[in-house]
């Protein structure tokens, strides 16, 4: 569309060096095979008049063990590359085998609005 702002595109190197951070304040409750994340649902703008969510309604995400590991490492200080290395080390995985699920999982978290990647001004200008 003409007026839609373009989403900034990151190169592979920039993406791996980026430091993802959590956008929701939620506690992970651990389960034997992973964990469960309860997130407070946000009222959509259009829904304030048409449809109102009950107060304190939550959404639950189930994570497997790798998901919990990645979530624990998302702190705004650890880069994606470091998360991949730690995962590979923790589960004795090949680098590529650790990279693929980590990146896919982070993409999914970003899509759901649970995690964000801070952008530099330069990146925004590039977009």
């Amino acid at each position: 569309m003409f007026f839609r702002s373009k989403k900034p595109r990151l190169s592979a190197e920039e993406a791996l060096n980026s430091k993802p951070m959590r956008l929701v304040d939620a506690e992970m409750s651990l389960l034997p095979e992973g964990g469960m994340l309860k997130v407070l649902m946000r009222q959509p703008k259009w829904g304030r008049t048409l449809f109102r969510l009950p107060e304190n309604s939550t959404k639950t995400y189930e994570f497997d063990a790798i998901g919990v590991f990645v979530w624990d490492n998302i702190d705004g200080k650890t880069s994606v590359e470091q998360i991949i290395l730690r995962l590979a080390k923790r589960y004795d995985m090949n680098m590529r085998e650790a990279q693929v699920p980590t990146i896919k999982f982070l993409e999914m978290l970003i899509k759901r609005g649970l995690v964000g990647v801070p952008m530099d001004k330069k990146d925004k200008e590039k977009a």
């Binding site: 034997p32 290395l85 995985m93 590529r96 085998e97």
Partner: protein, 310 residues
């Protein structure tokens, strides 16, 4: 004052560890962080592209030479890759003694970033191999690490396979039919005339087994098999003796459906063997109609990691 961030001491570019890649007879030693991102072709002609976390690092391209002079073939391949002027600057690269390389030419780009290229013709298999190293800076890894380790095997010798974390050795009569390389779930399917074997490795086993029991992993049949074979009913305990230890596992037999009694091209029964390797934290599975060969192949799984450890 801003505190200095702690960073992991392990970096993909500085680990110094190496891994073995073995594919369609080729075998070479590459840095641990370089992993295949594109695998294509068969024994006669194919491509293998290795990349680190950021970019493509090494490309392998091979082709069987049907006729003509191997020197001319190698020169032509080099010219096609870097052009005539650059190809004229290529030097003969001495391969280790005892290796059967009749041609071995190396071109190093003088002004990186660029491509360093080695072209060789193997007497063992009659194939031309091109190795292209995408060098960002002056990096001696191609000449110092990769090239001295490049070797080839004859099609009549046992074939070694090593890709990602999967490694196995098959006897010469088994040829690779297809492969599926998903992260943590690697399958290679081999065929020998009408017989077939699929080798599968799932890891880490601690996660895989928390999701599903070993019996359920064994019970998983591919869709193509499910149409032909009934589900396994009696799973039994099996043991596989390795040189240093014994692996415990389960075995299941899938019999052909009665209504397909006329389909003689399919084996009467297909056996699946599944083992948990606690040392490597991997599940090793084999499915096929030749149990002795399956046992032999499973026993060799993980040979590459053992060799690197040595």
């Amino acid at each position: 004052m801003a505190s200095k961030e702690k960073t992991d001491t392990v970096s993909p570019l500085t680990t110094g560890r190496s891994q073995l890649i073995a594919w369609h007879g080729w075998r070479l030693n590459v840095p641990d962080a370089w992993n295949p991102v594109k695998v294509d072709g068969d024994r006669d002609q194919g491509v293998l592209l290795l990349a680190d976390m950021f970019q493509a690092k090494l490309g392998l391209r091979w082709r069987r030479m049907k006729r003509g002079d191997p020197v001319q073939w190698a020169n032509r391949s080099l010219e096609a890759e870097v052009g005539k002027l650059a190809a004229a600057e290529a030097v003969d690269y001495p391969m280790p003694e005892g290796s059967d390389w009749r041609v071995s030419k190396l071109y190093i780009d003088k002004e990186p970033p660029g491509r360093d290229i080695w072209v060789g013709w193997s007497q063992k298999s009659g194939r031309v191999l091109e190795i292209v190293h995408h060098a960002k800076t002056r990096d001696p890894v191609l000449a110092d690490q990769v090239l001295p380790s490049v070797s080839d095997t004859q099609s009549t010798d046992p074939q070694a396979w090593s890709i990602y974390d999967f490694s196995a050795i098959t006897s010469a009569e088994w040829s690779l039919k297809w492969f599926r390389l998903n992260a943590g779930d690697l399958t290679l399917a081999f065929a020998n005339q009408r017989r077939s074997i699929r080798l599968r490795q799932v890891g880490p086993a601690s996660l895989a087994l928390s999701r599903m029991e070993l019996d359920d992993w064994i019970g998983q049949l591919d869709k193509a098999y499910r149409k032909i074979y009934r589900e396994a009913q009696n799973l039994s305990d099996v043991t596989l003796q390795l040189p240093t230890r014994a692996l415990k596992g389960r075995s299941g037999v899938f019999r052909r459906k009665r209504r397909l009694f006329w389909a003689f091209r399919f084996a009467n029964e297909v056996r699946t063997l599944g083992f948990h390797d606690p040392v490597r934290n991997r599940l090793l599975m084999a499915q096929g109609d030749d149990e002795p060969a399956m046992r032999e192949m499973i026993a060799t799984m993980g040979w590459a990691s053992r060799e690197v450890e040595k």
